[in-house]
Symmetry: C2
Subunit: 151 residues, 2 copies
Amino acid sequence: MRLDRLDERLLALLVDDARRSYAELGTHVGLTASAVKRRVDRLRGGGAITGFTVLLNPHALGWTVEGYVELYCRSSTPPETIKAAIDGLAEVVEASTISGEADAMLRILAADMRHFERVLEQIGGQPFVARTKSVLVLSPLLRRAAGTAPP
Amino acid sequence: MRLDRLDERLLALLVDDARRSYAELGTHVGLTASAVKRRVDRLRGGGAITGFTVLLNPHALGWTVEGYVELYCRSSTPPETIKAAIDGLAEVVEASTISGEADAMLRILAADMRHFERVLEQIGGQPFVARTKSVLVLSPLLRRAAGTAPP
DNA sequence: GCTGAAAAGGCTGACGA
DNA sequence: TCGTCAGCCTTTTCAGC
């Protein structure tokens, strides 16, 4: 899908605040509300925008512990198996298969350290998991919702 | 900030789709639109909801390479120094100081492999960075916008 | 805290340039 | 592809309970 400058500016404005009205977006980029709506509809239809969400503050919700977990799997576990195992765990907020020694990287949010440990045990208990290696987040420095358009 | 069941259900509904109308949210939880609005306003004021955004599809925008980068810093670099260095890099979408051998973990999105390499060089060129260690994402399995309320 | 109503403003689709 | 415009729906506020 091809984007022009206006589309990129609209995306940046929406990443910053998705509740801006079409009219407000229009004044920023020099279009009318309907022209903006047409472009946003096109960005959604084309798959560039996959959804609208709220950003939550984990700390305000009582999630005080965060960590990254590397997964080492037995033999060559297919990605689908890993996904199926973690899909039910609400504490896992990010997961990818990766290159290197480990097979997958997870990011986990937990209410406290005991909760974090319990989640680790649930993951480590899976039959395809050989071992895990985790680090705790000390200070979250940056959490961007999404990338903007490429330079 | 204290949340009751209704607040948690509203948050889950908004994480799933932040463009639902107050009336629609109300039918899901059994409240009128104005009651829902007051609760959402309270969740925003209390800091539980920190903002509204769009979710972008990196691939549809031409960002085809993703990776995790561990940062090893000289002596004890303060978190502020790290944050200041990466704040200007749009390619860094996530950053935290962490426990363990490395000092920080970054997640990076790039248009292609050359772009990823260039970003690594920019980061490695910082005076406080001793070395970096990176792994590439093979398949993104899960990317949740945020955690829901604690169990 | 909630409901319900009323005014203001945003969304949406059709139409012509 | 854009702008205009009309009809409808949502948001927002404020009594009243």
